[in-house]
């Protein structure tokens, strides 16, 4: 610790959110600084780089109106910390962690660094407890488990937020967990989206914490907001044994903010101008989901990503898919057919599904049922392409059957409008569809059918 407060007035350059200060004697990487400007401007910042006595600071908040002559930089000798207490439940904050709900700041029982520390891989518990979302395409075919990170890959104009709202309203664990809470992170949201989500959050039974960065809020806060939220989530999950669902929307805005800041720092741009370290940066967020030994809590994460140009190979969905344990992909085609939720199950995947389903978790026939539905639907979709060339009449009868199956599957199984289905209803429905088209394998035949 330094014994006296350090103050400097030696700013020599301001570029967007970046501030350069010279002749500084002592500084730490990641140290928080306070910037006091003219009138009532007070900003926080973080030290990014130290070159001899010159320091590069990244500022949080609006930098308009600053000039290098009239600002004072106060060094605090601490890294960026988040105040934590159980009273945080039910509160809303902005990207600088100031209350947005008009109530005073809660009294912190402790402070933790916003960037967090990586979970030791040997201290992790493997995620395997089934979470029921009430959505057949997810529960039946791409099962979500506690501690998983499963993003939603959407395209502009698709009803991702309606899907998320539905998951929020229905998500529950097998043994109805009393200590379930949602941490909601809005990144660069428009007011329209924000109010939609807020309404959805207020309609759920569980408590929530919201960290909100709106579309017109400072870009730098967009990078900090998810880190604050995850620190809060870690505190609630691992100190208070709660099951936390972290919902982050929209990660595309986060990555664009990362690119903007990287560019301002004159870093070498990588693919499509995004920085080369974007994979590691995204991992430092996504990997904070999970379960650990010695705690009953968990962090499950659902990030929402809008794929630019509907392109799944764009760096944002691409790098996300490499880190997360699967993805739920929405399809424009299904949306146009009026299917809700428009989940395309073929490119969707839940990597942790195998561990979360079966006799003790969901139902014994779940694995085989999912496999058969998947297989036949994949064939049906393949045949649809053929149909476009040769026409339905030119196809074998068995192929026509699969075509009908695929269409029926989309309209009856995937489509469920706003209705919720329990896992049993989902599986029964799947079995019925297979039976209707005589596609169920021997092992799945029900007793009555066998007779």
């Amino acid at each position: 610790m330094r014994l006296s407060e350090h103050k400097y007035r030696t700013t020599y350059r301001i570029a967007g959110q970046l501030l350069y200060v010279e002749n500084v004697h002592a500084a730490r990487i990641g140290e928080v600084v306070e910037v006091v400007g003219p009138d009532t401007i007070r900003l926080e910042g973080e030290i990014l780089e130290i070159v001899k006595n010159n320091i590069l600071i990244q500022l949080f908040g609006e930098t308009r109106g600053l000039n290098s002559k009239n600002i004072e930089i106060i060094f605090t000798d601490t890294v960026r910390q988040v105040p934590l207490a159980k009273d945080i439940l039910g509160r809303r904050f902005n990207g600088s962690f100031e209350p947005l709900d008009g109530l005073p700041m809660f009294i912190a029982s402790e402070w933790r660094p916003a960037r967090g520390n990586p979970i030791n891989p040997v201290s992790r518990l493997r995620p395997e407890e089934f979470i029921e979302t009430g959505i057949s395409a997810i529960d039946g075919l791409n099962t979500l488990v506690k501690g998983q990170k499963l993003p939603i890959f959407s395209c502009a104009g698709l009803p991702a937020k309606e899907l998320v709202a539905q998951i929020l309203q229905n998500a529950r664990l097998r043994e109805n967990s009393k200590s379930f809470a949602v941490v909601f992170v809005a990144l660069g949201l428009t007011f329209h989206e924000y109010s939609f989500y807020l309404e959805a959050l207020q309609n759920i039974e569980s408590e929530f914490v919201a960290i909100i960065n709106m579309a017109d809020d400072p870009v730098m806060e967009r990078l900090m907001a998810p880190r604050f939220a995850l620190t809060v989530a870690e505190y609630l999950a691992f100190d208070h044994n709660m099951d936390i669902l972290v919902l982050v929307t929209d990660m595309t805005n986060y990555c664009d903010a990362l690119r903007e800041i990287s560019n301002a720092r004159k870093e070498l741009p990588g693919r499509r101008g995004y920085p080369g370290y974007m994979y590691s940066d995204l991992a430092s967020l996504y990997e904070r989901a999970g379960r650990i030994r010695d705690s009953n809590g968990s962090i499950t994460m659902i990030p929402v990503i809008t794929m630019p140009e509907d392109d799944i190979t764009h760096p944002i969905p691409d790098l996300t898919g490499y880190i997360t344990e699967g993805q739920i992909v929405l399809s424009r085609e299904l949306h146009q057919q009026g299917v809700f939720p428009p989940i395309d199950v073929l490119p969707s995947l839940s990597r942790l599904m195998q561990k979360g389903i079966g006799a003790d978790m969901t139902r014994e026939d779940h694995r085989e049922l999912a496999k058969q539905l998947y297989k036949n639907y994949a064939k049906g979709r393949e045949l649809k392409k053929l149909e476009a060339i040769v026409g339905r009449d030119g196809m074998a009868e068995s192929d026509q059957l699969l075509l009908d199956f695929a269409a029926f599957f989309e309209n009856d199984f995937i489509h469920q409008a706003t209705k919720t289905r329990s896992i049993n209803q989902t599986l029964d429905k799947g079995l019925k569809i297979l039976e209707k088209f005589n596609l169920e394998p021997e092992s799945l035949k029900t007793e009555t059918a066998k007779e």
Binding site: I29, G30, P113, V122, S123, L125, R126, A283, E287, T313
Partner: protein, 539 residues
């Protein structure tokens, strides 16, 4: 360790630190800051040195001390490595968890091996014997595993005294007449390949138990396979399945920049599952090097060197070792991040221009060798690659294609239709086919090669017919062609596809051959039948 003097930190940018300490050597290990973070010297200038810090640098301050440690970054080699889970810098993660709890904080750990643990040592030489590098002076019972103690490179002389019975690694096992001591363990600089007598051309396969690999695209002992694939194509599952079942003595698994949950799954499974060959937990033949994507990037770069040095060590003891790395792309990205923080001139896609040479010298550390003790040992590698956007024209895949012997291309469309392992049978190849032909002929069956050609022929014909079928439909095909389509579909679903979650996860070469034989028999019969019929028709 000798301390060379102390300097100060003069600038910090991310994990790249400059110090005014001079007189360091390149790639020397340094201790950085008040918390003694581990770092490595990466560049020397006239008035300062540039260091790469291998841990989270936040909180590191200007003017904090830097000390040169006079050694390069090393891997500690000796008994007690098996079953241990290390991070990229070879720190045991269990010991780390004991010290810092479930979350990793930057902290200094002294040793990678437990030096206080007691072992039973049986000497094989007597006082007065002359020993030199490679001589086995005894062995330590590591559970049921006999761990040979071999004179490390650079030492020789007459044995003056040798221990017997219960020992720890702290005390020397053997004293030579020149006054030097031989310990049960030694340190080896991780970036330097370990020496051997000579390299031998590979002649035996690594049986992976994956039908498509063993039969169509086999890996030779001492060879290298690469598995590139976009996300969701099952790289990790394939690597883990091979790690569980491959018929090798020792498995080194490097989880390089990948998911934490997957690693915990792997660790739990390895503790539960038994090795069918020895009836002991799989963990007993495995060393894990884990540096997940959220752990420090520079340690990720070091992690594959830690892994390969461990692999070479067991190779030198005369074992067959398989190194699995998941994924090399994450290593290359770490290299890129470090290079860009050093402000080096970027090459293709921002990767440093030395990417290809670093990769090829890494891959060259695989091989079958005659060890310094005169045994035969091998180190084989299976490396997964995560090309951005699933595009194989990117630099990492391309650089690896030039140096590796087998290419197992994972196909997104196969994965979408849940055909696993999603290895594309048209694009993949193995350069070891001819080298291994003799082995399969002798050890499995005479017609191994014949059946493989037949199988490939059917799959090639199917590919050609598929286009026609898309236009005319299966009804429009000739009977012979319809037969090919039917048999090919069977090969795909009953032979090439293999479920990693059932007993089918491992298939012995004998069974592999039985399955393909029964399918192709059908084909040959059907072919006779249809050609007979068409002859009749023409009559």
């Amino acid at each position: 360790m000798k301390i060379k003097g102390t300097g100060k930190i003069i600038s910090i940018s991310g994990a790249t630190v400059r110090t005014d300490l001079t007189g360091l050597t390149l790639f020397e290990k340094v201790s950085v800051g008040e918390n003694n973070l581990t770092g490595e010297v990466v560049r020397l200038e006239k008035e300062w040195s540039v260091l790469q810090v291998y841990e989270d640098p936040s909180g590191l301050g200007l003017n904090e001390p830097v000390r040169g440690l006079g050694v390069s970054l090393t891997t500690t080699l000796g008994p007690g490595l098996l079953s241990v889970i290390f991070d990229g810098l070879q720190r045991p993660l269990d010991a780390l968890a004991d010290k810092t709890g479930p979350f990793i904080h930057p902290i200094h750990l002294d040793t990678s091996l437990d030096l206080k643990k007691e072992w039973a040592f049986t000497p094989l030489v007597n006082n007065g014997d002359t020993v030199s590098v490679g001589v086995k002076i005894g062995y330590i019972n590591e559970g049921p595993f006999e761990h040979p103690i071999i004179i490390p490179p650079g030492k020789k002389g007459k044995v003056e005294s040798i221990s017997r019975g219960t020992i720890t690694l702290e005390e020397p096992l053997c004293r030579l007449d020149d006054g030097s001591n031989i310990f049960g363990y030694h340190n080896w600089p991780m970036r330097v390949p370990r020496p051997y007598k000579k390299k031998i051309s590979p002649r035996e396969p690594v049986i992976t138990g994956q039908r498509i690999i063993d039969f169509l695209f086999p890996l030779a002992r001492g060879g290298t396979s690469i598995i590139p694939g976009g996300f969701g194509t099952g790289k990790t599952i394939l690597e883990q399945t091979i790690a569980k079942h491959a018929d090798v003595d020792i498995v080194i698994y490097a989880g390089c920049g990948e998911r934490g949950n997957e690693m915990s799954e792997l660790i739990e499974e390895f503790l539960e599952l038994e090795d069918p060959r020895t009836d002991r937990p799989l963990m007993n033949r495995t060393v894990l090097v884990v540096n997940t994507s959220n752990m420090p990037v520079a340690a990720r770069e070091a992690s594959i060197y830690t892994a390969v040095t461990l692999g070479e060590y067991y190779r030198d003891l005369g074992f067959h070792v398989l190194l699995l790395a998941d994924s090399i792309s994450r290593w290359a990205e770490a290299l890129r991040e470090i290079s860009s923080s050093l402000e080096e001139m970027p090459g293709e896609e921002g990767y440093p221009t030395y990417l290809a040479s670093r990769l090829s010298s890494f891959v060259e550390r695989a091989g079958v060798v005659e060890t310094l003790s005169g045994n035969i040992g091998s180190l084989s590698m299976i490396l997964s690659v995560s090309p951005p956007g699933g595009d194989f024209t990117e630099p990492v895949t391309q650089a690896l294609l030039r140096t590796s012997g087998a290419f197992l291309m994972l196909d997104t469309s196969l994965a979408y239709s849940r055909h696993f392992p999603a290895i594309n049978w048209m694009q993949s190849y193995s350069l070891y086919l001819n080298l291994l032909a003799e082995y399969f002929k002798k050890n499995v069956a005479n017609d191994w090669e014949v059946l493989r050609s037949l199988c490939r022929e059917i799959m090639h014909k199917e590919e050609a017919l598929k286009e026609i079928m898309e236009i005319v439909g299966i009804e429009g095909l000739q009977e012979q062609d319809r037969l090919i389509m039917k048999v090919a579909a069977e090969i795909r679903s009953d032979f090439l596809a293999q479920n990693a979650y059932t007993d089918d996860a491992f298939c012995e070469p004998g069974n592999t051959l039985d399955i393909i034989r029964s399918i192709t028999d059908q084909y040959l019969k059907g072919q006779n039948y249809t050609s007979g019929k068409s002859k009749n028709e023409t009559l």
